[in-house]
Symmetry: C2
Subunit: 290 residues, 2 copies
DNA sequence: CAATATCTCTGACTATAGTCAGATATCATG
DNA sequence: CATGATATCTGACTATAGTCAGAGATATTG
């Protein structure tokens, strides 16, 4: 009754029936689920027909018919792709947007209803994040992004906040050697964000210097994504990027208040070296030759 | 991207596709999902046809046909109910049990595969428990049970373990006035267990005494079920049971190291009174007139 | 014991999802 | 510009799930 497998299966049962309830509420709008799914995919910004088909895993014949039924309802319009007339592009009409908004309202109401069940909202959300990250683990994409992008800035903000909580003396970015964004852009360096669906859940930066090495900076993994070995994946990705940029020597600094980081570096071929900068926060320094 | 609603919806998407994957693996056994569900319901001990139909929400015509198809496969046998020949009772044949075991193996493998994604198994399981309890909140049943039943003993074990963690001096049941099980059975008292599906997730005892009052004892809610206001529901149930037994005065003791308990009592009509026993653990005493 | 209720079953039907083989239009390439 | 590749569409088909009206057997009740 309490073994791990039973607990997972209890979770499966609970969640299956909740998912079914949402489908039922969608059916309440008088449209088969297939058509509703296509409408929602378009509403969420997918316009290329092949893309929608791929996303929803539909056969091209079925997809075509679903689109036709949405067109008959005057919810969707299709036109040829502007530079490949074989492809079709779907957009919502005015009433299509209204109908999409109604589905969104149903989804949002269901989500709110769920949150309202619990008096400790944040704990519930953290549990959901943890499970969502675990389930989508194999679909987490590591994308190179501009360090000034919204996704990167989100990660950096969380990273600084966490340092502030974990360092006994707090953390003030301005006292640290804030890496200039341009040093973390190709060709000097790069910045990699781990994306789970549209949610940034981790990052790492590679900062070019003029001293014969590049620095790995800002390695961070969202609390909900810890335990998924994402730190390791990010480090592998940043090392690959460095190799790609022709960099042969990497350095990084960290703090012994972050033991899981030191642990990771030591177990992946990094060698501890003496202090190589005068940043006030780090007390541990590593180097790796590629 | 990070507002609560989006987080819930990200969770929904992740979980929907995981559920779909399990369905697909079930289809791999060459049988439609409807038939597989009936087979599994029987395998899990549901034998009464009406009960299965009700559990799976099936129309009687559809149910009948699904049973027929399982009979044709020689996986299921049906016979008349022994004291109502209108009802039918389904049982698995030898090969039905084999096939059921194969489905169980698929479910278990999926559950194990999920757990294997994460290096902090217990955190993942705790998150799943929390969500499963929240989703099934409205189906949590409060059942009167024997305090010696497996369910009750499970709850009590967890309760004592938690007291041990929360009291600075630890907790040793034998030093406390261990309430005799017979005082927590009708007609002297009762014992109520909160069941989520087959999982006990909370309890409370009503212990009859010969001093003109009854005591509320052993109020416990599983960590995964906290925040669902289950403590409140258990207290209401135990007060109802006391009224039902003609009891007019209730007392209880607790400890200030359990602030959420004291909070609950104060907000539900309990009045603090002076110490009324010599148990070494409690330091707060309450009374409520029904 | 007749009337009524309950349980299961059968036949006839619909809706949805999905498959598959071409047909058609367009694009890319030598 | 012929050829093959690609994207979409149509028609014809199947499987599954589900609905509904009644039939037949059995149980319950006044």
């Amino acid at each position: 009754m309490l073994d791990p497998i039973s607990r997972v299966r209890r979770f499966n049962r609970a969640v299956t029936s909740a998912v079914g309830a949402l489908d039922t509420s969608f059916l309440g709008r008088g449209r088969p689920l297939g058509a509703a799914r296509v409408l929602n995919a378009i509403g969420h910004g997918r316009s290329d027909v092949a893309d929608i088909r791929d996303y929803l895993g539909l056969d091209s014949g079925l997809m075509s018919r679903l689109l036709r039924s949405l067109e008959e309802e005057a919810l969707v319009e299709t036109e040829a792709h502007h530079d490949d007339a074989r492809r079709r592009v779907a957009t919502l009409t005015r009433s299509g947007r209204r109908e999409f908004a109604a589905y969104e309202a149903l989804s949002n109401a269901q989500a709110e209803g769920f949150l309202a069940q619990h008096s400790q909202r944040e704990a519930l959300l953290a549990a959901m994040d943890l499970i969502a990250s675990t389930l989508t683990r194999e679909r987490i994409a590591l994308d190179e992004m501009d360090p000034r992008s919204a996704e990167a800035r989100h990660c950096l903000g969380e990273y600084y906040a966490e340092l502030g909580r974990r360092f006994s003396q707090g953390f003030d970015v301005s006292r640290s050697r804030d890496p200039d964004a341009k040093d973390m852009r190709r060709p000097r360096g790069t910045f990699i964000v781990a994306m789970s669906d549209t949610l940034p859940i981790g990052c790492v930066g590679l900062k070019g210097t003029d001293h014969g090495y590049a620095e790995v900076k800002r390695l961070w993994v969202a609390p909900s994504a810890r335990g998924l070995r994402l730190g390791r994946r990010l480090m592998e990705a940043v090392e690959d990027a460095a190799r790609d940029l022709g960099i042969t020597l990497l350095r990084l600094d960290t703090n012994s208040a972050l033991p899981e980081a030191g642990q990771l570096y030591r177990s992946t071929g990094w060698r501890e070296i003496p202090r190589f900068n005068d940043d006030p926060y780090p007390d541990l320094f590593f180097e790796k030759r590629l």
